[in-house]
Protein backbone atom coordinates (compact mmCIF):
# COMPACT_ATOMS: atom_id res chain seq x y z
CA UNK A 1 0.00 0.00 0.00
CA UNK A 2 1.57 3.28 -1.05
CA UNK A 3 0.64 5.10 2.14
CA UNK A 4 3.11 2.80 3.91
CA UNK A 5 5.99 4.07 1.79
CA UNK A 6 8.52 6.12 3.70
CA UNK A 7 10.94 8.02 1.55
CA UNK A 8 14.45 6.58 2.05
CA UNK A 9 16.72 8.59 4.30
CA UNK A 10 19.77 8.30 2.07
CA UNK A 11 20.66 8.30 -1.56
CA UNK A 12 23.42 6.17 -3.06
CA UNK A 13 25.36 8.19 -5.61
CA UNK A 14 27.51 6.12 -7.94
CA UNK A 15 29.95 7.86 -10.25
CA UNK A 16 29.51 5.76 -13.38
CA UNK A 17 32.74 7.11 -14.86
CA UNK A 18 34.62 5.57 -11.98
CA UNK A 19 32.64 2.40 -11.19
CA UNK A 20 34.41 -0.65 -12.63
CA UNK A 21 31.63 -3.03 -11.54
CA UNK A 22 34.03 -5.03 -9.35
CA UNK A 23 31.06 -5.91 -7.12
CA UNK A 24 32.94 -5.25 -3.89
CA UNK A 25 30.03 -3.07 -2.70
CA UNK A 26 27.55 -5.80 -3.51
CA UNK A 27 29.53 -8.45 -1.63
CA UNK A 28 30.17 -6.22 1.39
CA UNK A 29 26.66 -4.90 1.99
CA UNK A 30 24.74 -7.07 4.47
CA UNK A 31 21.71 -4.85 3.84
CA UNK A 32 21.75 -5.88 0.19
CA UNK A 33 21.65 -2.36 -1.19
CA UNK A 34 23.87 -3.07 -4.22
CA UNK A 35 23.04 -5.55 -6.96
CA UNK A 36 25.01 -6.41 -10.09
CA UNK A 37 22.99 -6.49 -13.31
CA UNK A 38 24.84 -8.95 -15.57
CA UNK A 39 22.83 -7.96 -18.64
CA UNK A 40 23.95 -4.36 -18.55
CA UNK A 41 27.22 -4.95 -16.66
CA UNK A 42 26.37 -2.28 -14.11
CA UNK A 43 25.60 -2.15 -10.42
CA UNK A 44 22.19 -1.06 -9.22
CA UNK A 45 21.31 0.35 -5.78
CA UNK A 46 18.23 -0.02 -3.61
CA UNK A 47 18.67 2.95 -1.31
CA UNK A 48 15.62 2.07 0.80
CA UNK A 49 17.81 -0.55 2.51
CA UNK A 50 20.81 1.73 3.04
CA UNK A 51 21.74 2.62 6.64
CA UNK A 52 24.70 4.83 5.68
CA UNK A 53 27.31 2.66 7.39
CA UNK A 54 29.74 3.59 4.60
CA UNK A 55 31.24 0.10 4.30
CA UNK A 56 30.86 0.27 0.51
CA UNK A 57 32.24 3.80 0.42
CA UNK A 58 35.31 2.75 2.40
CA UNK A 59 36.02 -0.34 0.33
CA UNK A 60 35.21 0.94 -3.18
CA UNK A 61 38.61 0.79 -4.92
CA UNK A 62 37.81 3.62 -7.35
CA UNK A 63 36.04 5.90 -4.82
CA UNK A 64 32.98 5.77 -7.03
CA UNK A 65 30.44 5.79 -4.19
CA UNK A 66 28.93 8.50 -2.07
CA UNK A 67 26.02 8.22 0.37
CA UNK A 68 24.15 11.48 0.79
CA UNK A 69 21.09 12.67 2.62
CA UNK A 70 18.02 12.23 0.45
CA UNK A 71 17.05 15.70 -0.70
CA UNK A 72 13.45 14.65 -1.15
CA UNK A 73 12.09 16.05 2.11
CA UNK A 74 8.63 16.69 3.35
CA UNK A 75 7.51 20.28 3.38
CA UNK A 76 9.54 22.23 5.93
CA UNK A 77 7.91 22.66 9.28
CA UNK A 78 9.66 23.94 12.39
CA UNK A 79 7.31 22.03 14.66
CA UNK A 80 6.87 18.81 12.69
CA UNK A 81 10.34 17.89 11.54
CA UNK A 82 10.93 15.39 8.75
CA UNK A 83 12.14 12.76 11.20
CA UNK A 84 9.25 13.28 13.60
CA UNK A 85 6.72 12.78 10.82
CA UNK A 86 8.54 9.70 9.51
CA UNK A 87 8.55 8.19 12.98
CA UNK A 88 4.80 8.62 13.07
CA UNK A 89 4.54 6.86 9.71
CA UNK A 90 6.75 4.03 10.95
CA UNK A 91 4.67 3.52 14.05
CA UNK A 92 1.43 3.75 12.08
CA UNK A 93 2.81 0.97 9.91
CA UNK A 94 4.22 -1.26 12.62
CA UNK A 95 2.35 -0.52 15.83
CA UNK A 96 5.63 -0.96 17.66
CA UNK A 97 8.02 0.86 19.95
CA UNK A 98 10.72 2.63 17.94
CA UNK A 99 14.18 1.21 18.48
CA UNK A 100 17.50 3.01 18.17
CA UNK A 101 21.14 2.31 18.77
CA UNK A 102 24.25 4.12 19.97
CA UNK A 103 24.00 7.41 21.88
CA UNK A 104 21.46 10.20 21.81
CA UNK A 105 22.11 12.09 18.54
CA UNK A 106 19.94 15.12 19.33
CA UNK A 107 21.38 18.63 19.59
CA UNK A 108 21.26 18.84 23.38
CA UNK A 109 24.03 20.80 25.11
CA UNK A 110 27.45 19.17 25.34
CA UNK A 111 28.95 20.73 28.44
CA UNK A 112 32.47 19.45 27.66
CA UNK A 113 32.44 21.87 24.73
CA UNK A 114 31.50 24.73 27.02
CA UNK A 115 34.36 24.13 29.43
CA UNK A 116 37.86 25.45 28.79
CA UNK A 117 41.14 24.26 30.30
CA UNK A 118 43.77 26.46 31.92
CA UNK A 119 47.47 26.73 31.03
CA UNK A 120 50.50 28.17 32.83
CA UNK A 121 52.00 31.51 31.74
CA UNK A 122 54.90 33.45 33.28
CA UNK A 123 54.16 33.09 36.98
CA UNK A 124 54.07 29.31 37.13
CA UNK A 125 56.05 26.99 34.88
CA UNK A 126 54.46 24.63 32.44
CA UNK A 127 56.04 21.18 32.05
CA UNK A 128 57.23 19.59 28.86
CA UNK A 129 56.08 15.96 28.91
CA UNK A 130 58.74 15.01 26.36
CA UNK A 131 61.49 16.05 28.75
CA UNK A 132 60.08 15.41 32.19
CA UNK A 133 58.28 12.47 33.76
CA UNK A 134 54.50 12.58 33.78
CA UNK A 135 52.29 10.26 35.78
CA UNK A 136 48.99 9.10 34.33
CA UNK A 137 48.63 6.06 36.56
CA UNK A 138 45.53 5.90 38.75
CA UNK A 139 44.26 3.54 41.43
CA UNK A 140 40.57 2.87 41.74
CA UNK A 141 38.98 1.76 44.99
CA UNK A 142 38.29 2.85 48.53
CA UNK A 143 41.11 4.95 49.98
CA UNK A 144 42.01 5.03 53.69
CA UNK A 145 40.73 8.06 55.61
CA UNK A 146 43.88 8.45 57.65
CA UNK A 147 47.38 7.12 58.14
CA UNK A 148 47.45 4.18 60.51
CA UNK A 149 50.37 2.50 62.25
CA UNK A 150 51.03 -1.10 63.08
CA UNK A 151 51.63 -2.25 66.66
CA UNK A 152 55.39 -1.79 66.30
CA UNK A 153 54.86 1.80 65.21
CA UNK A 154 55.67 1.23 61.55
CA UNK A 155 53.36 2.69 58.90
CA UNK A 156 50.52 0.48 57.74
CA UNK A 157 51.12 0.38 54.00
CA UNK A 158 48.38 -2.11 53.20
CA UNK A 159 45.85 -0.58 50.87
CA UNK A 160 42.44 -2.02 50.39
CA UNK A 161 42.03 -3.80 47.09
CA UNK A 162 42.60 -1.41 44.18
CA UNK A 163 42.49 -1.48 40.40
CA UNK A 164 45.69 -0.09 38.89
CA UNK A 165 45.28 1.69 35.55
CA UNK A 166 48.17 2.94 33.44
CA UNK A 167 45.94 5.82 32.32
CA UNK A 168 42.55 7.03 33.54
CA UNK A 169 40.50 5.41 30.77
CA UNK A 170 38.80 2.00 30.57
CA UNK A 171 36.62 0.31 27.98
CA UNK A 172 33.09 0.23 29.31
CA UNK A 173 30.58 -2.56 29.32
CA UNK A 174 29.57 -4.11 26.02
CA UNK A 175 28.23 -7.63 26.25
CA UNK A 176 29.24 -10.59 24.15
CA UNK A 177 26.05 -10.91 22.18
CA UNK A 178 25.57 -7.20 21.66
CA UNK A 179 29.06 -7.10 20.14
CA UNK A 180 30.95 -9.84 18.38
CA UNK A 181 33.58 -12.30 19.54
CA UNK A 182 36.23 -10.45 17.54
CA UNK A 183 35.24 -7.10 19.06
CA UNK A 184 35.62 -8.62 22.53
CA UNK A 185 38.93 -10.18 21.55
CA UNK A 186 40.18 -6.78 20.37
CA UNK A 187 39.12 -5.05 23.61
CA UNK A 188 40.63 -7.78 25.80
CA UNK A 189 43.96 -7.84 24.00
CA UNK A 190 44.23 -4.06 23.92
CA UNK A 191 43.43 -3.78 27.64
CA UNK A 192 46.15 -6.26 28.50
CA UNK A 193 48.69 -4.45 26.37
CA UNK A 194 47.72 -1.04 27.73
CA UNK A 195 47.42 -2.03 31.39
CA UNK A 196 43.80 -0.93 31.63
CA UNK A 197 40.48 -2.79 31.85
CA UNK A 198 37.61 -3.77 29.63
CA UNK A 199 34.19 -4.80 30.81
CA UNK A 200 32.29 -7.95 29.89
CA UNK A 201 28.90 -6.30 30.01
CA UNK A 202 26.06 -8.48 31.12
CA UNK A 203 26.60 -11.32 28.67
CA UNK A 204 29.10 -13.39 30.62
CA UNK A 205 32.72 -14.05 29.75
CA UNK A 206 33.57 -16.26 26.78
CA UNK A 207 35.77 -19.17 27.85
CA UNK A 208 38.51 -18.02 25.45
CA UNK A 209 38.87 -14.72 27.32
CA UNK A 210 39.40 -16.03 30.85
CA UNK A 211 43.13 -15.63 30.16
CA UNK A 212 42.60 -11.85 30.04
CA UNK A 213 40.97 -11.93 33.51
CA UNK A 214 43.51 -9.59 35.09
CA UNK A 215 42.33 -6.87 32.72
CA UNK A 216 38.65 -7.75 32.84
CA UNK A 217 35.82 -6.26 34.83
CA UNK A 218 33.02 -8.80 35.06
CA UNK A 219 29.51 -7.48 35.22
CA UNK A 220 26.57 -8.71 37.25
CA UNK A 221 23.38 -7.25 35.80
CA UNK A 222 19.71 -7.79 36.49
CA UNK A 223 19.54 -10.82 34.20
CA UNK A 224 22.56 -12.42 35.93
CA UNK A 225 23.59 -13.99 32.62
CA UNK A 226 26.72 -16.12 32.76
CA UNK A 227 27.35 -15.36 36.44
CA UNK A 228 28.92 -18.18 38.45
CA UNK A 229 31.87 -18.69 40.73
CA UNK A 230 34.58 -18.99 38.10
CA UNK A 231 33.27 -15.89 36.30
CA UNK A 232 33.50 -13.78 39.45
CA UNK A 233 36.90 -15.27 40.20
CA UNK A 234 38.14 -14.55 36.68
CA UNK A 235 37.70 -10.77 36.75
CA UNK A 236 39.86 -8.11 38.39
CA UNK A 237 36.71 -6.38 39.65
CA UNK A 238 32.99 -7.05 39.71
CA UNK A 239 30.53 -4.45 38.46
CA UNK A 240 26.91 -4.43 39.51
CA UNK A 241 24.95 -2.83 36.70
CA UNK A 242 21.99 -0.92 38.06
CA UNK A 243 21.46 1.24 35.01
CA UNK A 244 22.75 2.38 31.66
CA UNK A 245 22.94 5.96 30.42
CA UNK A 246 21.25 5.22 27.12
CA UNK A 247 18.24 3.63 28.77
CA UNK A 248 17.89 4.52 32.44
CA UNK A 249 15.07 2.73 34.19
CA UNK A 250 14.63 -0.07 31.73
CA UNK A 251 16.23 -3.44 31.20
CA UNK A 252 17.61 -5.07 28.14
CA UNK A 253 16.42 -7.51 25.56
CA UNK A 254 18.72 -9.53 23.32
CA UNK A 255 16.46 -11.31 20.82
CA UNK A 256 16.52 -15.11 20.73
CA UNK A 257 17.84 -14.97 17.17
CA UNK A 258 21.16 -13.71 18.56
CA UNK A 259 21.34 -16.35 21.31
CA UNK A 260 23.18 -18.92 19.26
CA UNK A 261 26.20 -21.15 19.84
CA UNK A 262 28.81 -19.53 22.01
CA UNK A 263 26.54 -16.63 23.00
CA UNK A 264 24.05 -19.09 24.46
CA UNK A 265 26.80 -21.05 26.25
CA UNK A 266 28.43 -17.88 27.59
CA UNK A 267 25.12 -16.45 28.80
CA UNK A 268 24.15 -19.87 30.16
CA UNK A 269 20.69 -19.77 28.63
CA UNK A 270 19.14 -22.07 25.98
CA UNK A 271 19.72 -21.32 22.32
CA UNK A 272 16.98 -19.24 20.76
CA UNK A 273 15.58 -17.99 24.07
CA UNK A 274 15.29 -14.23 24.48
CA UNK A 275 17.80 -12.81 26.95
CA UNK A 276 15.67 -10.45 28.98
CA UNK A 277 17.33 -8.31 31.62
CA UNK A 278 14.62 -7.01 33.95
CA UNK A 279 14.43 -3.26 34.54
CA UNK A 280 15.28 -3.57 38.25
CA UNK A 281 17.35 -6.16 40.05
CA UNK A 282 14.51 -8.08 41.66
CA UNK A 283 16.48 -8.35 44.89
CA UNK A 284 17.36 -4.67 45.13
CA UNK A 285 14.78 -2.16 46.23
CA UNK A 286 16.91 -0.06 48.57
CA UNK A 287 20.49 0.89 49.42
CA UNK A 288 20.37 -1.80 52.13
CA UNK A 289 19.49 -4.40 49.47
CA UNK A 290 22.32 -3.12 47.28
CA UNK A 291 24.66 -3.45 50.24
CA UNK A 292 23.63 -7.09 50.54
CA UNK A 293 24.57 -7.79 46.93
CA UNK A 294 27.82 -5.84 47.25
CA UNK A 295 28.81 -7.92 50.25
CA UNK A 296 27.54 -11.17 48.70
CA UNK A 297 29.93 -10.53 45.82
CA UNK A 298 32.73 -9.57 48.20
CA UNK A 299 32.19 -12.77 50.15
CA UNK A 300 32.14 -14.78 46.94
CA UNK A 301 35.44 -13.23 45.84
CA UNK A 302 36.99 -13.30 49.33
CA UNK A 303 37.26 -9.51 49.54
CA UNK A 304 40.02 -9.59 46.93
CA UNK A 305 38.22 -7.65 44.23
CA UNK A 306 36.77 -4.15 44.22
CA UNK A 307 33.03 -3.91 43.64
CA UNK A 308 31.78 -1.31 41.18
CA UNK A 309 28.19 -0.09 41.12
CA UNK A 310 27.17 1.35 37.78
CA UNK A 311 24.20 3.69 37.56
CA UNK A 312 22.72 5.93 34.92
CA UNK A 313 22.90 9.68 35.47
CA UNK A 314 19.40 10.65 36.54
CA UNK A 315 17.85 13.61 38.33
CA UNK A 316 18.67 12.59 41.88
CA UNK A 317 22.10 11.21 41.10
CA UNK A 318 23.93 12.96 43.96
CA UNK A 319 21.73 11.37 46.61
CA UNK A 320 21.89 8.01 44.84
CA UNK A 321 25.68 8.16 44.70
CA UNK A 322 25.81 9.10 48.36
CA UNK A 323 23.81 5.96 49.13
CA UNK A 324 26.09 3.80 46.98
CA UNK A 325 29.18 5.27 48.64
CA UNK A 326 27.77 4.02 51.94
CA UNK A 327 26.79 0.61 50.59
CA UNK A 328 30.29 -0.82 50.73
CA UNK A 329 30.93 -0.42 47.00
CA UNK A 330 34.49 0.57 46.13
CA UNK A 331 33.83 2.34 42.85
CA UNK A 332 30.81 4.18 41.45
CA UNK A 333 30.44 4.28 37.69
CA UNK A 334 28.04 6.89 36.34
CA UNK A 335 26.79 6.72 32.77
CA UNK A 336 25.50 9.93 31.19
CA UNK A 337 22.49 10.30 28.93
CA UNK A 338 24.59 10.41 25.78
CA UNK A 339 25.99 6.92 26.37
CA UNK A 340 25.67 4.31 23.68
CA UNK A 341 23.65 1.12 23.45
CA UNK A 342 23.19 -1.83 21.14
CA UNK A 343 19.45 -1.21 21.20
CA UNK A 344 17.12 1.00 23.21
CA UNK A 345 13.64 2.40 22.77
CA UNK A 346 14.15 5.70 20.92
CA UNK A 347 11.98 7.72 23.28
CA UNK A 348 13.92 6.51 26.32
CA UNK A 349 17.31 7.03 24.74
CA UNK A 350 16.52 10.53 23.56
CA UNK A 351 14.59 11.84 26.57
CA UNK A 352 15.64 10.12 29.79
CA UNK A 353 18.63 10.93 31.98
CA UNK A 354 20.92 13.91 32.43
CA UNK A 355 24.30 15.01 31.05
CA UNK A 356 27.29 13.31 32.66
CA UNK A 357 29.12 16.61 33.19
CA UNK A 358 26.42 17.90 35.54
CA UNK A 359 25.98 14.52 37.22
CA UNK A 360 29.71 14.17 37.86
CA UNK A 361 30.07 17.67 39.28
CA UNK A 362 27.13 17.30 41.63
CA UNK A 363 28.11 13.80 42.78
CA UNK A 364 31.73 14.76 43.49
CA UNK A 365 30.58 17.84 45.40
CA UNK A 366 28.00 15.91 47.40
CA UNK A 367 30.44 13.17 48.36
CA UNK A 368 33.01 15.77 49.40
CA UNK A 369 30.43 17.71 51.42
CA UNK A 370 29.46 14.54 53.22
CA UNK A 371 33.10 13.58 53.82
CA UNK A 372 32.76 10.25 52.03
CA UNK A 373 34.56 11.02 48.77
CA UNK A 374 37.43 8.73 49.76
CA UNK A 375 35.02 5.83 50.30
CA UNK A 376 34.75 5.39 46.56
CA UNK A 377 36.37 6.15 43.25
CA UNK A 378 34.27 7.78 40.56
CA UNK A 379 34.29 6.53 36.99
CA UNK A 380 32.27 8.43 34.40
CA UNK A 381 31.11 7.51 30.93
CA UNK A 382 28.46 8.52 28.45
CA UNK A 383 30.23 10.06 25.52
CA UNK A 384 33.79 10.77 26.49
CA UNK A 385 35.04 11.64 23.01
CA UNK A 386 38.61 12.78 23.37
CA UNK A 387 41.60 13.29 25.64
CA UNK A 388 40.36 16.78 26.48
CA UNK A 389 37.02 15.34 27.64
CA UNK A 390 39.02 13.00 29.88
CA UNK A 391 41.06 15.87 31.31
CA UNK A 392 37.91 17.94 31.93
CA UNK A 393 36.22 14.96 33.60
CA UNK A 394 39.20 14.38 35.90
CA UNK A 395 39.32 18.08 36.79
CA UNK A 396 35.59 17.98 37.56
CA UNK A 397 36.26 15.19 40.04
CA UNK A 398 36.34 11.83 38.24
CA UNK A 399 39.01 9.24 38.98
CA UNK A 400 38.76 7.67 35.54
CA UNK A 401 36.58 7.54 32.44
CA UNK A 402 34.76 4.75 30.69
CA UNK A 403 34.74 4.84 26.88
CA UNK A 404 32.79 2.58 24.55
CA UNK A 405 31.57 4.57 21.56
CA UNK A 406 35.10 5.91 20.99
CA UNK A 407 36.41 2.34 21.28
CA UNK A 408 34.01 0.88 18.72
CA UNK A 409 34.75 3.81 16.42
CA UNK A 410 38.40 2.77 16.62
CA UNK A 411 37.32 -0.73 15.65
CA UNK A 412 35.65 0.59 12.49
CA UNK A 413 32.15 1.61 13.60
CA UNK A 414 30.79 4.41 11.41
CA UNK A 415 28.01 5.31 13.84
CA UNK A 416 25.14 4.43 11.50
CA UNK A 417 23.10 3.67 14.61
CA UNK A 418 21.47 0.46 13.40
CA UNK A 419 23.14 -2.04 15.76
CA UNK A 420 19.69 -3.37 16.63
CA UNK A 421 19.38 -4.98 13.19
CA UNK A 422 22.34 -7.30 13.90
CA UNK A 423 23.68 -6.71 10.40
CA UNK A 424 26.74 -4.65 11.30
CA UNK A 425 28.81 -4.45 8.16
CA UNK A 426 31.91 -3.69 10.22
CA UNK A 427 31.74 -6.97 12.16
CA UNK A 428 31.17 -5.30 15.53
CA UNK A 429 27.48 -5.43 16.51
CA UNK A 430 26.62 -8.72 14.86
CA UNK A 431 26.79 -12.47 15.43
CA UNK A 432 26.63 -13.49 11.77
CA UNK A 433 29.90 -15.40 11.17
CA UNK A 434 30.51 -13.93 7.72
CA UNK A 435 30.21 -10.42 9.20
CA UNK A 436 32.05 -11.14 12.47
CA UNK A 437 35.18 -12.11 10.55
CA UNK A 438 35.34 -8.66 9.00
CA UNK A 439 36.91 -7.48 12.24
CA UNK A 440 40.38 -8.96 12.48
CA UNK A 441 41.30 -8.64 16.18
CA UNK A 442 44.97 -8.19 15.27
CA UNK A 443 43.95 -4.94 13.60
CA UNK A 444 41.26 -4.10 16.16
CA UNK A 445 43.58 -4.43 19.16
CA UNK A 446 46.29 -2.45 17.40
CA UNK A 447 43.90 0.40 16.61
CA UNK A 448 42.62 0.51 20.20
CA UNK A 449 46.17 0.60 21.53
CA UNK A 450 46.97 3.39 19.06
CA UNK A 451 43.95 5.40 20.16
CA UNK A 452 44.72 5.08 23.86
CA UNK A 453 48.41 5.80 23.35
CA UNK A 454 47.48 8.95 21.44
CA UNK A 455 45.11 10.02 24.18
CA UNK A 456 47.73 9.38 26.82
CA UNK A 457 50.15 11.68 24.97
CA UNK A 458 47.47 14.35 24.73
CA UNK A 459 46.53 14.02 28.39
CA UNK A 460 50.20 14.53 29.30
CA UNK A 461 50.43 17.57 27.01
CA UNK A 462 47.34 19.14 28.56
CA UNK A 463 48.52 18.42 32.09
CA UNK A 464 51.98 19.73 31.28
CA UNK A 465 50.47 22.94 29.99
CA UNK A 466 48.77 23.42 33.33
CA UNK A 467 52.03 22.75 35.15
CA UNK A 468 50.70 19.51 36.59
CA UNK A 469 52.83 16.37 36.39
CA UNK A 470 50.47 13.83 37.92
CA UNK A 471 46.89 13.00 37.09
CA UNK A 472 46.25 12.66 40.84
CA UNK A 473 46.95 16.38 41.23
CA UNK A 474 44.40 17.21 38.59
CA UNK A 475 41.52 15.28 40.11
CA UNK A 476 38.80 17.61 41.35
CA UNK A 477 41.00 20.61 40.51
CA UNK A 478 38.12 22.67 39.17
CA UNK A 479 40.18 25.84 39.29
CA UNK A 480 41.74 24.53 36.07
CA UNK A 481 38.37 24.84 34.33
CA UNK A 482 36.33 27.80 33.12
CA UNK A 483 32.89 27.84 31.57
CA UNK A 484 31.96 29.63 28.40
CA UNK A 485 28.41 30.64 27.49
CA UNK A 486 26.94 29.04 30.58
CA UNK A 487 24.30 30.40 32.95
CA UNK A 488 24.95 31.16 36.62
CA UNK A 489 23.05 28.01 37.56
CA UNK A 490 25.04 25.80 35.22
CA UNK A 491 28.31 27.25 36.54
CA UNK A 492 27.10 26.72 40.09
CA UNK A 493 26.32 23.04 39.46
CA UNK A 494 29.60 22.50 37.61
CA UNK A 495 31.41 24.32 40.42
CA UNK A 496 33.50 26.37 37.99
CA UNK A 497 33.93 30.05 37.24
CA UNK A 498 33.10 31.70 33.96
CA UNK A 499 35.90 32.41 31.50
CA UNK A 500 37.44 35.79 32.38
CA UNK A 501 36.74 35.43 36.08
Amino acid sequence: MSVEFVNPEFEVIRNDNRCIACRVCERQCANEVHLFDPDRGIILSDESKCVNCQRCVSLCPTRALKIVKNECRLRENANWSDSTIKEIYKQANSGGVLLSSMGNPNPLPVYWDKILINASQVTNPSIDPLREPMETKVFLGKKPDKITRNEDGSLNCELLTQLELSMPVMFSAMSYGSISYNAHASLARASKELGIFYNTGEGGLHEDFYCYGENTIVQVASGRFGVYEDYLEAGAAVEIKMGQGAKPGIGGHLPGAKIVGDVSRTRMIPEGSDAISPAPHHDIYSIEDLRQLVFSLKEATEYKKPIIVKVAAVHNIAAIASGIARSGADIIAIDGFRGGTGAAPTRIRDNVGIPIELALASVDQRLRDEGIRNNVSLVVGGSIRSASDVVKAIALGADACYIATAAVLALGCHLCRTCQTGKCNWGIATQRPELVKRLNPDMGAERLVNLMTAWQHEIKELMGGMGINSIESLRGNRLMLRGIGLTEKELEILGISHAGE
Binding site: N17, R18, C19, I20, A21, C22, R23, V24, R27, Q28, G41, S58, L59, P61, T62, A64, E434, K437, R438, N440, D442, M443
Partner: protein, 142 residues
Protein backbone atom coordinates in the same frame (compact mmCIF):
# COMPACT_ATOMS: atom_id res chain seq x y z
CA UNK B 1 62.59 -14.64 1.77
CA UNK B 2 59.45 -12.58 2.16
CA UNK B 3 56.48 -14.19 0.48
CA UNK B 4 52.77 -13.58 0.18
CA UNK B 5 50.83 -15.68 2.68
CA UNK B 6 47.11 -16.06 3.15
CA UNK B 7 45.22 -15.98 6.46
CA UNK B 8 42.05 -17.58 5.20
CA UNK B 9 40.36 -17.01 8.56
CA UNK B 10 40.21 -13.31 7.76
CA UNK B 11 39.49 -13.43 4.03
CA UNK B 12 36.13 -11.82 3.30
CA UNK B 13 35.98 -12.88 -0.32
CA UNK B 14 35.63 -9.24 -1.35
CA UNK B 15 37.89 -9.80 -4.40
CA UNK B 16 39.61 -6.43 -3.90
CA UNK B 17 43.01 -8.14 -4.24
CA UNK B 18 42.14 -9.24 -7.77
CA UNK B 19 41.31 -5.71 -8.87
CA UNK B 20 44.30 -4.19 -7.07
CA UNK B 21 46.53 -6.77 -8.79
CA UNK B 22 45.11 -6.13 -12.22
CA UNK B 23 45.43 -2.38 -11.71
CA UNK B 24 49.00 -2.58 -10.38
CA UNK B 25 50.06 -4.52 -13.46
CA UNK B 26 48.14 -2.37 -15.93
CA UNK B 27 50.71 0.42 -16.08
CA UNK B 28 47.91 2.95 -15.74
CA UNK B 29 47.70 5.58 -13.00
CA UNK B 30 43.90 5.54 -12.76
CA UNK B 31 42.06 2.39 -11.79
CA UNK B 32 38.89 3.27 -13.66
CA UNK B 33 40.84 3.91 -16.85
CA UNK B 34 42.73 0.65 -16.36
CA UNK B 35 39.84 -1.65 -15.60
CA UNK B 36 36.52 -0.10 -16.60
CA UNK B 37 34.61 -2.06 -19.19
CA UNK B 38 37.47 -4.46 -19.89
CA UNK B 39 38.09 -8.09 -19.03
CA UNK B 40 40.26 -8.26 -15.91
CA UNK B 41 43.30 -10.55 -15.69
CA UNK B 42 44.43 -10.68 -12.08
CA UNK B 43 47.40 -12.80 -11.01
CA UNK B 44 45.79 -13.52 -7.67
CA UNK B 45 42.42 -15.22 -7.58
CA UNK B 46 39.91 -15.76 -4.81
CA UNK B 47 38.83 -19.33 -4.34
CA UNK B 48 36.35 -20.76 -1.88
CA UNK B 49 32.68 -21.15 -1.12
CA UNK B 50 30.15 -19.32 1.05
CA UNK B 51 31.96 -20.40 4.25
CA UNK B 52 35.61 -19.87 3.46
CA UNK B 53 37.61 -17.81 0.97
CA UNK B 54 41.28 -17.43 0.26
CA UNK B 55 43.49 -15.73 -2.27
CA UNK B 56 45.54 -17.99 -4.53
CA UNK B 57 48.75 -16.66 -6.04
CA UNK B 58 52.22 -17.96 -6.85
CA UNK B 59 53.99 -19.55 -3.84
CA UNK B 60 57.41 -18.84 -5.33
CA UNK B 61 58.46 -22.41 -4.58
CA UNK B 62 62.08 -23.12 -3.67
CA UNK B 63 62.13 -25.86 -6.31
CA UNK B 64 59.64 -24.55 -8.89
CA UNK B 65 58.24 -27.20 -11.19
CA UNK B 66 56.90 -24.53 -13.58
CA UNK B 67 60.42 -23.24 -14.24
CA UNK B 68 61.71 -26.76 -14.77
CA UNK B 69 58.96 -27.57 -17.24
CA UNK B 70 59.03 -24.31 -19.26
CA UNK B 71 59.99 -25.32 -22.80
CA UNK B 72 61.00 -21.85 -23.96
CA UNK B 73 62.97 -20.60 -20.96
CA UNK B 74 60.41 -17.87 -20.32
CA UNK B 75 60.20 -18.68 -16.59
CA UNK B 76 63.18 -18.03 -14.38
CA UNK B 77 64.05 -17.50 -10.72
CA UNK B 78 65.54 -14.15 -9.80
CA UNK B 79 66.43 -13.64 -6.13
CA UNK B 80 63.81 -16.23 -5.20
CA UNK B 81 61.08 -14.53 -7.25
CA UNK B 82 59.78 -16.60 -10.12
CA UNK B 83 59.44 -14.29 -13.08
CA UNK B 84 58.19 -14.61 -16.61
CA UNK B 85 59.64 -13.10 -19.75
CA UNK B 86 56.54 -12.43 -21.87
CA UNK B 87 58.63 -12.17 -25.04
CA UNK B 88 59.82 -15.74 -24.66
CA UNK B 89 56.45 -17.34 -23.75
CA UNK B 90 55.17 -19.54 -26.58
CA UNK B 91 51.75 -20.10 -25.01
CA UNK B 92 52.24 -23.86 -24.59
CA UNK B 93 50.61 -23.60 -21.13
CA UNK B 94 52.73 -26.41 -19.67
CA UNK B 95 53.35 -24.28 -16.57
CA UNK B 96 49.61 -23.97 -15.97
CA UNK B 97 49.31 -27.73 -16.25
CA UNK B 98 52.10 -28.52 -13.79
CA UNK B 99 51.57 -25.84 -11.13
CA UNK B 100 50.21 -27.73 -8.11
CA UNK B 101 48.57 -24.57 -6.72
CA UNK B 102 46.75 -23.41 -9.84
CA UNK B 103 48.63 -20.14 -9.42
CA UNK B 104 49.65 -19.62 -13.05
CA UNK B 105 47.05 -18.43 -15.51
CA UNK B 106 46.50 -17.25 -19.03
CA UNK B 107 46.56 -13.48 -19.34
CA UNK B 108 45.62 -11.09 -22.08
CA UNK B 109 46.35 -12.42 -25.59
CA UNK B 110 46.86 -15.95 -24.21
CA UNK B 111 50.31 -15.17 -22.80
CA UNK B 112 50.96 -16.75 -19.44
CA UNK B 113 50.95 -14.48 -16.40
CA UNK B 114 51.77 -15.04 -12.77
CA UNK B 115 52.42 -13.15 -9.57
CA UNK B 116 55.86 -11.55 -9.55
CA UNK B 117 55.39 -9.97 -6.09
CA UNK B 118 54.95 -6.62 -7.84
CA UNK B 119 58.70 -6.32 -8.48
CA UNK B 120 58.06 -5.55 -12.13
CA UNK B 121 55.57 -2.72 -11.56
CA UNK B 122 55.67 0.55 -9.65
CA UNK B 123 53.60 -0.67 -6.70
CA UNK B 124 56.63 -1.20 -4.46
CA UNK B 125 55.05 -3.95 -2.38
CA UNK B 126 52.51 -6.57 -3.44
CA UNK B 127 49.34 -4.63 -4.34
CA UNK B 128 47.07 -7.43 -3.10
CA UNK B 129 48.61 -7.16 0.39
CA UNK B 130 48.55 -3.37 0.42
CA UNK B 131 44.87 -3.24 -0.50
CA UNK B 132 43.56 -6.09 1.66
CA UNK B 133 41.11 -4.54 4.14
CA UNK B 134 41.40 -7.30 6.74
CA UNK B 135 45.04 -8.47 6.62
CA UNK B 136 43.94 -11.73 5.04
CA UNK B 137 46.92 -11.51 2.70
CA UNK B 138 50.27 -10.68 4.26
CA UNK B 139 53.80 -10.24 2.92
CA UNK B 140 56.30 -11.55 5.43
CA UNK B 141 59.18 -13.88 6.30
CA UNK B 142 58.07 -17.21 7.68
Amino acid sequence: MKRVYVNEEWCLGCHLCEYNCAFANSGEIDMSKALKGKPVFPRVKIDGDEHINFAVSCRHCDDPICVKSCISGALSVNNGVIQIDHNKCVKCLTCILVCPYGAVSEGEHGIVQKCELCVENSCGEPACVKGCPNRAIVYEER
